[in-house]
């Protein structure tokens, strides 16, 4: 698959703004219904309903062991759910392998980044999906495409896109991992604790990057412990507790205390800061 070759952007840039004339924006890009997953005797997810919308950042919050990673891995095709259905752009889909997920346009940026330190930025971004010309690697085309994607995300501080990833700062590495995820016509990018290991300035850089993904019309799901980051970047918040989705609503319906209440007790008696906030269920 070519880098966004279907877009009309003359520079081949990452397209800006939500797609025009595409599928109905109001319909969730990915709709999960009743997703359950158990490992042996341990029930990790109980009938999770979750909607992920295009051009929105959804923050998935929850304490350790709440099932955030399992849910992410179900969407990424690493685990297959035991029950429930997934609707992708309104169509029922079965995601059984990571390749199924990428074919739909779902990419995951893992906490430990999954970059090979000894390879340079271009090599990492095309790892496993190298472009060939006459059987040999087409370095020129890959380097151009990688450069365009990074420029589109305004990652412009790396000295050279031919420098090994080992020489990059934590924030730059995160940026490369994100760029790698958005290169492939992806529509949904999931980031697992994207700021966990970063300093203040680098965290800012990554949050800006997440906003840019949203501006480009992608659906973004951010898994985070850090409520500061969540409130800075999210449009919607979903809270998992012990495998159940206990709350899901727009950012305005929450404040920090309410999120913490939901994370720890599964319910909140505090008044919602904005009208119209409804916790989905307390099953």
């Amino acid at each position: 698959m070519d880098l966004r070759s279907t877009t009309t952007s003359p520079t081949g840039d990452v397209p800006s703004g939500p797609p025009v004339g595409g599928p109905d924006i109001s319909q969730p890009l990915l709709r999960l219904r009743g997703i359950s997953k158990h490992f042996g005797a341990v029930q990790a997810l109980y009938g999770v309903d979750l909607d992920l919308l295009a051009a929105e950042v959804t923050a998935l919050c929850g304490d350790n062991g709440a099932g955030k990673s399992v849910l992410t891995k179900c969407i990424a095709g690493i685990h297959e759910p035991d029950a429930g259905e997934m609707l992708w752009e309104g169509r029922a889909v079965h995601i059984r392998t990571p390749n199924d997920a990428s074919a739909l346009g779902i990419e995951t940026v893992y906490q430990d980044l999954a970059l090979a330190d000894n390879l340079d930025i271009v090599q990492n971004m095309f790892l496993g999906r190298e472009r060939l010309s006459r059987g040999l690697l087409d370095e020129d085309s890959m380097e151009r495409a990688a450069g365009r994607t990074l420029a589109g995300l305004r990652v412009t501080t790396v000295r050279s896109i031919r420098q090994p990833v080992a020489t990059l700062s934590g924030g730059q590495r995160q940026a490369v991992a994100v760029a790698k995820a958005v290169m492939w016509n992806s529509k949904l990018v999931m980031l697992d604790e994207p700021t966990a290991a970063l300093g203040v300035a680098q965290t800012r850089m990554v949050l800006d990057l997440i906003r840019r993904l949203k501006d480009h019309g992608l659906a973004v799901m951010v898994i985070s412990h850090n409520l500061n980051d969540v409130f800075e970047v999210a449009d919607r918040i979903a809270v998992l507790r012990l495998g159940r989705l206990v709350a899901q609503d727009r950012l305005a319906a929450f404040d920090r205390e309410r999120v913490v209440d939901f994370m720890t007790t599964g319910t909140s008696s505090r008044p919602a800061p904005a009208a119209g906030a409804v916790a989905t269920s307390d099953r």
């Binding site: 990571p98 390749n99 990428s102 893992y110 430990d112 980044l113 999954a114 970059l115 090979a116 330190d117 000894n118 390879l119 340079d120 930025i121 090599q123 990492n124 790892l127 496993g128 999906r129 190298e130 060939l132 059987g135 040999l136 690697l137 370095e139 020129d140 380097e143 151009r144 450069g147 365009r148 990074l150 420029a151 305004r154 990652v155 412009t156 501080t157 790396v158 000295r159 050279s160 896109i161 031919r162 420098q163 090994p164 080992a166 020489t167 990059l168 700062s169 924030g171 730059q172 940026a175 300035a201 680098q202 850089m205 800006d208 990057l209």
Partner: protein, 448 residues
């Protein structure tokens, strides 16, 4: 030098003014400026980037070239009548090094994965013996078919060992240690009660095999061949580099491209000129031994495989981070198994060269020493024992260092024990350079 290892990139303006660290954290500030690293470097910027890499610990080819020059100078001074630098000795040195070079290039595949193959010494012996047995009068195979059979046998051995390692999850160290013993035994079994096989009989196919090291290319043909090789290299390099410069990609500056081409031309002219000096004592001996283009072909083919194909890219990725490779959708066990196959097959060719050099094979072949020299040569050449770093040319340079030490100490009339001690010390120095450079260059990737 080529696009793979060139990461020069002229520093952008913000970095000039703020320093690299400050620039790193101000991503959005630059806005939609020039895409990163697409400004073609000047020679100065290129050299500065190279110097920065050396300082950060990635010395690349520098230590081994310095080492090779040092060894050459020392042995030239101390050898009787400075015979070390004579044409006859240099050709001899290359003949002796060829086995180490090819073995080291083969071992390089496995070292790049962070693995080791201890069996290739005796696997090489098996390859040589299979080829030698098949050109005996009784099966009487043509020489090329015999060599192919030898390589195929070795590839099969590599496939067997590689499959056991990757499918049964047994460390390569153990599997290939078992292979070391097994193929040692098999070698003795194949050689039978005679304990040897010779390829010096005046049969055309045996002479062809023997001629790999002791057959020489006509001087005129050698010059023409060299001209063709240099011309092809020049055209390919120039077109690649110029194309990248035109489209604004990371590319070496013009003078560096010219320097690369000149270096190859000069090296080639030197080799052919030295080989075309009459070095016979009683009868004239002139010409490039066939083993030189054979080694060159292995070097070029394996360099292309490692640096210009997706398989090669995956080898580096698995060596750098197997987990990252797996998540990128790379079939890691397949990459690893194939690396053991390629390693063993390349070793088979080294065995054929060894067979030619010795005029046959005997049960006295020291496969243990061969494999250790192969690992040593690769590491001395700059291949990392920890995986993920190394190139085919490391085997060439490291093999030459080992060959030079072997040859030089022999010229001094020093017995074998000194050769062992000196080679061991050089290996230790090379591994220390590797280890130190890792410690400095990448504190973020501290490994257990």
């Amino acid at each position: 030098m080529n696009a793979m290892d060139g990461q020069p990139g002229a520093p952008s303006i913000d970095e000039e003014t703020l320093g690299p660290e400050a620039a790193a954290d101000l991503t959005a500030a630059v806005g939609e400026a020039i895409p990163p690293g697409v400004v073609p470097g000047t020679l100065r910027a290129y050299l500065r980037a190279w110097l920065a890499r050396v300082r950060s610990g990635d010395a690349g080819v520098l230590p081994v070239v310095v080492g090779l020059i040092a060894v050459t100078v020392v042995f030239t001074i101390v050898s009787p009548n400075h015979v070390f630098l004579s044409a006859a000795n240099l050709v001899n040195l290359f003949d002796q090094s060829a086995v180490f070079i090819v073995l080291a290039i083969g071992e390089g595949f496995v070292l790049l994965l962070g693995e080791i193959d201890l069996s290739i010494g005796f696997v090489a012996a098996i390859g040589g013996i299979v080829a030698a047995q098949l050109v005996q009068p009784s099966p009487g195979w043509p020489w090329w078919l015999a060599i192919a059979a030898g390589l195929l046998a070795c590839a099969a051995i590599g496939a067997l060992q590689g499959t056991i390692i990757t499918r049964l999850h047994i460390p390569a160290f153990i599997v290939t240690l078992a292979g070391y013993l097994i193929w040692f035994g098999v070698m003795i079994v194949i050689l039978g009660p005679a304990g040897q096989v010779s390829i010096t009989a005046p049969l055309p196919d045996q002479q062809a095999l023997y001629g790999l090291v002791y057959g020489y290319i006509d001087p005129l043909v050698a010059w023409v061949g060299l001209a063709v090789i240099v011309a092809v290299y020049a055209v390919v390099t120039w077109r690649t580099d110029a194309g990248r410069r035109r489209s604004g990609l990371v590319a070496p500056p013009v003078n560096l491209t010219i320097a690369k081409i000149l270096l190859v031309a000069v090296a080639g002219i030197l080799v052919v000129a030295i080989c075309n000096v009459d070095r016979g004592k009683f009868l004239p001996i002139v010409g490039v031994p066939w083993v030189i283009p054979v080694v060159l072909a292995v070097l070029v083919l394996w360099t292309i495989l490692l640096e210009r194909t997706s398989y090669g890219r995956h080898v580096y990725a698995v060596g750098g981070s197997a987990e990252a490779a797996r998540r990128a959708g790379i079939h890691v066990p397949r990459v690893r198994t194939l690396a053991f196959v390629l390693c063993a097959m390349t070793a088979g060719l080294a065995g054929v060269i060894y067979c030619s050099q010795l005029g046959g094979m005997t049960t006295n072949i020291n496969g243990g020493q061969l494999v250790l020299y192969a690992v040593a040569a690769a590491v001395i050449g700059g291949t990392s024992l920890f995986g993920g770093r190394g190139r085919a040319r490391d085997g060439l340079l490291g093999g030459l260092v080992i060959g030079a030490i072997y040859n030089g100490l022999y010229l001094l009339g020093l017995p074998i024990q000194w050769q062992l001690i000196v080679t061991g010390l050089v290996l230790l120095a090379a591994v220390s350079v590797d280890s130190l450079s890792r410690g400095q260059s990448a504190p973020t990737l501290a490994r257990a």
